[in-house]
Subunit: 421 residues, 2 copies
């Protein structure tokens, strides 16, 4: 089965919007074992859209066409579709009804322009949009079935997920050339991409049905495993074997898989250990607190975070003695340790986590240049641990990797079996 | 001039990577007055890439082709280019030299596979890559000039900016059909997109040379103005008139233009006022502190941020009296005011800014359901101001809009002329 995506809109060809709909839909199709053949983006130019529709219709079996279905003057995708198919646009009474109902529900008078959305190429099928006005339109053209959906991500996703994918899945089940695919994403931190690549190389010949791939998603690196086989059971088995071998290789550097987010994993480990946390951040400026509190229910384990950006607040909130700052400066092993212990004492938590460093672009010393970061973890009943990191890159990158380096101290401690509180 | 972009790579058609190179390059071209006609993405399939190259070469004048130039087995874009052009691949001695130098500089032995990068379609021009190994390759095919660059964003941008854009600019200057364009992005907060649209409508007929567009970039909404005219002076004048009319309409809701980031604007206003700030955040969990400290030099105005996620830390760090929490709960006008005043006193700053609220998905009360947020601004020498907001959406959205709502209290106060510290 050949699948293509066609996206229309001036905003997509002038750099104003990044097309995030297509990667989302590609990933959903890939889970069904379908690799999209082409994605084509064109501006709001009638002859270009008509020409593109004729091209995809001559090549593909299933095509998702997005954008240009709204009520305004620059929405003319269906006009182009009618021109490509050589049929007129006709007002569909069902769509008129749906529009009337929708406007009535929202208590808005229906603008006559809205009726543009009811003008459908003759012979096309229409399906109601559960979250918007413009319906899904399905038109057969050339060898292809064309699905027209709005470009607004919420409506695109609702219709693509609820209406388009099930139809493609049904067609797939009848496809004699079908192959089964199975996919896993293994998320790592702390391993550079080149090292990941080299470490995986010996596995490749042992797993001929699996393609090993990599993607960088700073500060994480992801290992992607794609198994292809004649049947789903064989694909799943090949994937399971490759995943087991990869997990053996990387151990705890793999923090999660597929959709699992890093902060969620740390939150789960803390919750499982019935532990609580407080943070004292300097150069990361609240990034750790913000990441952890993005997890719903964070108040069960996160008690407080001191963004102690000045020396005064390092003393007041994180209990760093003036003498330590005086003797060792704000960016030092001693200060990081005092911050972690001080914030733990202030908040009365199981753990205290701290970061201090030079995020740049200015600052730093000869011994501790920009990119130097000290992270410390204070824990109930064990000595405070402190590590020094040298992080390359700009201010954003140093802050991002500094936050993760600190959280890694905590995650590894929790994995190695912390003392119960 | 007709410009197209062709991007190759399996990761682009399976949802693993979002193509962010193209929007960047489109925007750079748009500044030159060039609207890209098509962007085409294809997977790592030899016949598909060859076919796509023949298609773009038959239609476009200038084409940027990216991806598949590296040293591994799945890098075969130049092979496809040679096939499309009907010429052999030949090893280019200059590229071999560049590769040797690069590996020597980095003290890495050169893998024989690296020489793949020196195999160039016969007759093509090569330009050294300043930040990577694979060179820029320029090949004439059909009516088009094809520029081949690596897909790695750093190398893509360095070569596109440094080598491709100047060549396109030179070609443009000879283009008889050239029109001049001028572009401005006006960034607003606090105005819903639909309101922006309706407010701008009366301006449209008064500025026939300007296209008004919108883009949502939560929590901001952007108004984009694009002027087209026969000469650059006329385009610039038309843009200036439309910009002045828009600024009159929206006043301080426009916080910046083009590349100006919100946090930078707040930082600049604080610095100009020689003022300092402390924050006390509950539901936003450090988001405000993190946004402000992302600005380089934040330590001159940002003294500290208390992420007081528990009642205990609201008392300890933000000086909220136990009686206030007891009587009014942690999410209340009284607590927000106490947090802003308390954190200002603790840090000794010009301003204290606070947020407390229900980010969801659980929590909230009948009077203050999920999405209710109280923000307060305490300032030297004026009464503390507090506002209540009702924010729709999921946890991430509530946190994001809550942070901006708080910062908006501060920004408007600074714009209206704060008392000097």
């Amino acid at each position: 089965m050949r699948v293509e995506l066609l996206c229309t809109g001036d905003e997509l060809v002038t750099g104003l919007i990044t097309d995030t709909n297509s990667p989302w839909f590609e990933a959903r199709l890939f889970e069904l074992g379908v690799k999209v053949d082409r994605i084509l983006l064109v501006g709001d130019v009638r002859p270009d859209i008509t020409q593109a529709l004729l091209e995809v219709a001559s090549r593909a079996d299933e095509v998702l066409v997005s954008g240009g279905l709204g009520p305004t003057m620059d929405d003319f995708t269906l006009e182009c579709a009618a021109a490509a198919a050589g049929v007129p646009l006709v007002e569909d009474p069902r769509v008129v009804e749906w529009l009337k109902e929708r406007y009535a529900q929202r208590n808005i008078p229906m603008n006559p322009g809205a009726l543009r959305m009811a003008r459908i190429p003759q012979g096309a099928e229409v399906v109601r949009n559960p979250v918007g006005s413009a319906p899904l339109v399905i038109l057969r053209l050339g060898r292809a079935r064309l699905f027209f959906v709005p470009g607004v991500p919420r409506e695109y996703k609702a219709l693509a997920e609820g209406e388009v994918l099930p139809r493609i899945r049904a067609a797939l089940e009848k496809d004699p050339e079908r192959v089964a695919r199975s996919f896993r994403l293994l998320r790592t931190v702390g391993i550079p991409e080149s090292q990941l690549d080299a470490a995986v190389a010996p596995l490749v010949p042992q797993h001929p049905r699996v393609v090993f791939g990599f993607r960088t998603h700073a500060p994480e690196n992801h290992l992607k495993l794609m198994a292809t086989a004649p049947s789903q059971a064989e694909a799943d088995a090949a994937l399971a074997a490759a995943e087991a071998a990869s997990r053996k290789l990387f151990g705890a550097a793999i923090f999660g898989s597929d959709e699992e987010e890093y902060a969620q994993v740390v939150a789960r480990l803390l919750t499982q250990a019935k532990a609580t946390l407080a943070t004292a951040e300097s150069c990361t400026g609240g990034l750790i607190a913000q990441q952890l509190t993005a997890v719903s229910g964070a108040s069960t384990f996160f008690m407080g975070g001191a963004v102690s950006y000045s020396e005064k607040m390092k003393m007041a909130w994180a209990g760093v003695p003036a003498a330590v700052l005086e003797r060792h400066t704000a960016v030092s092993r001693e200060t990081a340790v005092a911050m972690a212990e001080g914030v733990r004492a202030a908040c009365g938590t199981t753990y205290g986590l701290s970061v201090t460093g030079y995020a740049g672009p200015t600052g730093g010393t000869l011994e501790d240049p920009v990119g130097t970061v000290y992270c410390a973890l204070a824990a109930e009943g064990s000595p405070t641990r402190c590590e020094r990191f040298s992080i390359m890159g700009d201010r954003d990158r140093v802050r991002l990797f500094a936050a993760t380096s600190a959280l890694e101290l905590l995650r590894h401690h929790l994995l190695s079996g912390p003392s119960a509180s």
